[in-house]
């Protein structure tokens, strides 16, 4: 059996469920170490190359948002803001302490709302090609599947295996509308980004065809303690396109906090606890 160079040997996940006040949430866990909550994009949880690399250092916790992968919707969780509050409760229940959060695309938008609504549950924040903030002067995004695919992936051969069918994926994409019907620019979140206290890393692929540079530049300007880093030759799916670069950057940021801008080998660096 051959293995892909974009898979980490020995990577495995456990699937669990936690009961929250609004309903049950299914989540997956991989790796050991400091917990990181990973919020998925429109395609639900994917075990990307970058995520597998992070699981070598961290306990990566991947909740599945209600409605995705045919999980039940929760009563009273009907907006991105609600989703943010629910995830605050999830962190409390599963981690029991503030956790670093990584949010990819739709998950980046979701993560912004966690940081706004539950600041005491969030350690550091990583927004990876975040959706939800497309400036109105830009043309609408294509809905053509082939074009969209090209805008998503620079290296489609690096995508992780996915058991889902195209119908499953379409159903997942449709669930997003339950949280933000027709919204491309979240005015309220944009306004309230200035309230975010968490040290924030915004990552953007230089070849991302879905999220415009203007979006990440605007978030960098709005979020008080934030860094914007471009990942060269990464598309919208940064974690699969440039898994190593993504993991190197995020690992450094999560382990070293604001001093991640100082050139130092991660393995030699003191951890936050030291």
């Amino acid at each position: 059996m051959t293995t892909s160079p974009y898979e980490v040997s020995g990577f495995s996940v456990e699937t669990k469920t936690v009961a929250l006040s609004t309903g049950p949430v299914t989540y997956q866990e991989a790796g050991r170490g400091t917990p990181i909550v990973h919020l998925h994009g429109a395609g639900s949880v994917r075990h990307s190359w970058g995520l597998q690399l992070l699981a070598q250092t961290f306990r990566v916790i991947m909740p599945i948002c209600p409605g995705f992968d045919d999980t039940p919707m929760h009563d009273g969780v009907n907006s991105m803001s609600d989703l943010g509050k629910m995830t605050g409760e999830f962190i409390d229940s599963v981690v029991g302490a503030p956790a670093d959060i990584i949010g990819i695309s739709f998950g980046g938008w979701h993560a912004v709302w966690v940081a706004i609504n539950c600041p005491d549950k969030v350690g550091q924040l990583v927004l990876e090609n975040p959706a939800g903030f497309r400036p109105s002067h830009l043309p609408p995004l294509t809905t053509d599947p082939k074009l969209r695919f090209r805008e998503m992936y620079v290296y489609p051969e690096r995508l992780p295996k996915d058991h889902r069918t195209e119908e499953d994926r379409n159903r997942n994409r449709a669930v997003m509308a339950d949280y933000h019907p027709g919204m491309t620019f979240d005015e309220e979140a944009h306004e309230r980004c200035s309230e975010i206290k968490a040290l924030t890393l915004i990552c953007h692929g230089t070849k991302d065809g879905r999220i415009a540079p203007e979006t990440v530049q605007m978030l960098k300007a709005r979020i008080p303690h934030s860094h914007l880093v471009y990942i060269y030759n990464g598309g919208h799916s940064l974690e699969s396109d440039q898994g190593e670069r993504f993991a190197r950057l995020v690992k450094d940021f999560c382990l070293r906090g604001e001093s991640f801008i100082v050139n130092q080998k991660v393995d030699d660096a003191p951890t936050a606890a030291e």
């Binding site: 990552c203 230089t206 530049q217 960098k220 300007a221 860094h227 914007l228 880093v229 471009y230 990942i231 060269y232 030759n233 440039q242 670069r245 993504f246 190197r248 950057l249 991640f260 801008i261 100082v262 050139n263």
Partner: protein
């Protein structure tokens, strides 16, 4: 900017700097800088500075130092840095220094991005195999340095910067960018960035036309149509009272260049081309070698006849430039008047002739015609 004060520099790489006399170089630098400033008076639109290392072939390991001096002493001409060799330098440093030149000159920077010639990779201990990939990444990074409204970081294959916000910022929004279009990958990069594409050391007009046509096709694939202002052809130039005199000066200076200035370079280049993938494929390396040797084998008369050099009286030079434009459609002509050990008085004479007698006759060649002095 050659160091032409030696008669034998050997064939070793690098060329031993015991051959370099700083006292003589004081005068040389002064002459070269004065000539670049004088080029503006003569009507040149751009003044060029280029980068070469560790041999008498070039005294500008950092062309930005000379560019800054020229920027300060001129008021109209564009300052073409042609250019910093991106794969062997720190791209953020290039972005900063170019921005300084842009501010010092009041917005006259013309940004040349070069991959360099093989021996530069030995000089700076850079891997020639990585030259194209570094070049592609460095261009993207430099443009980010110039265009980002917020501090940013860069996580790349070759470059990692966690926090960049260059001071000073450019006066221009984005300067005109000039790159070589000598190979497929270089031409592709020019087209992708809508830059000026330069062809130099051409063995024939057909070769130049082929490169230009290829570049234009690539531009169309990238969604734009280049004009004459996006095509630069480089030529050596000697103008004198008679063709015979110009020919004699040109031949002697080229002979000196081949005999003295190029020895060490050839050695380093041979090693690079034999042992690495500086060129992506063997055909490309062979094509380059053939191009250079074909050019070398031509007589001066043949070079003039074929439109490969500018040589002769002012009238002849005007005609040669017109013919070149007619055949290649170039909007920019990069003219090198200092060749080999050509004397300073001969360089000044060529510049004067160009300004007084040649440019008035060729400026009408297209609205966008520009001339750059090297």
């Amino acid at each position: 900017m050659q160091y032409d004060q030696v008669e034998d520099a050997g064939n070793d790489w690098p060329v031993a700097n015991r051959l370099f006399d700083p006292q003589k170089a004081i005068k040389l630098y002064q002459e070269y800088i004065d000539n670049k400033v004088y080029a503006e008076e003569c009507g040149f639109d751009w003044i060029a500075c280029n980068e070469h290392h560790m041999s008498p072939y070039g005294m500008m390991p950092n062309p930005n130092l000379i560019g800054a001096v020229v920027a300060d002493r001129t008021s109209r001409a564009g300052i073409l840095q042609s250019g910093n060799i991106l794969p062997i330098n720190n791209p953020v440093r290039v972005a900063e220094e170019y921005a300084m030149i842009d501010v010092i000159s009041g917005g006259r920077l013309v940004a040349g991005f070069m991959r360099g010639i093989p021996h530069e990779y030995v000089a700076y201990n850079a891997d020639p195999d990585e030259s194209y990939d570094r070049m592609y990444e460095a261009v993207d990074l430099i443009k980010k340095c110039w265009s980002e409204p917020e501090p940013f970081g860069w996580e790349g294959e070759f470059y990692q910067f966690r926090a960049v916000s260059i001071w000073p910022r450019l006066v221009q929004n984005m300067p005109t960018i000039v790159m070589s279009g000598g190979s497929d990958l270089s031409s592709e990069l020019c087209a992708a960035h809508r830059s000026v594409m330069g062809v130099l050391r051409i063995p024939s007009i057909d070769y130049a036309k082929g490169k230009i046509d290829d570049f234009k096709e690539r531009c169309v694939r990238h969604g734009w149509e280049p004009g004459p202002e996006h095509v630069m052809v480089a030529q050596q130039c000697v103008i004198s009272n008679t063709f015979e005199e110009a020919k004699k000066i040109l031949e002697e200076s080229i002979s000196y260049g081949n005999r003295v200035l190029m020895g060490g370079q050839r050695t380093a280049q041979r090693l690079v081309l034999q042992k690495t993938r500086y060129f992506k494929n063997k055909d490309q390396a062979e094509e380059r070698e053939k191009r250079l040797s074909d050019f070398k084998e031509l007589t001066t008369e043949e070079r003039v006849e074929r439109g490969l050099v500018i040589c002769g009286t002012p009238e002849m030079a005007a005609e040669q430039i017109s013919n070149l434009h007619e055949q290649t459609g170039n909007g920019i002509l990069n003219i090198a008047c200092k060749i080999g050990n050509i004397s300073n008085s001969a360089v000044r004479r060529s510049l004067e002739y160009l300004g007084n007698e040649v440019f008035p006759k060729v400026r009408h060649l297209g609205d966008t015609d520009q001339v750059a002095a090297e």
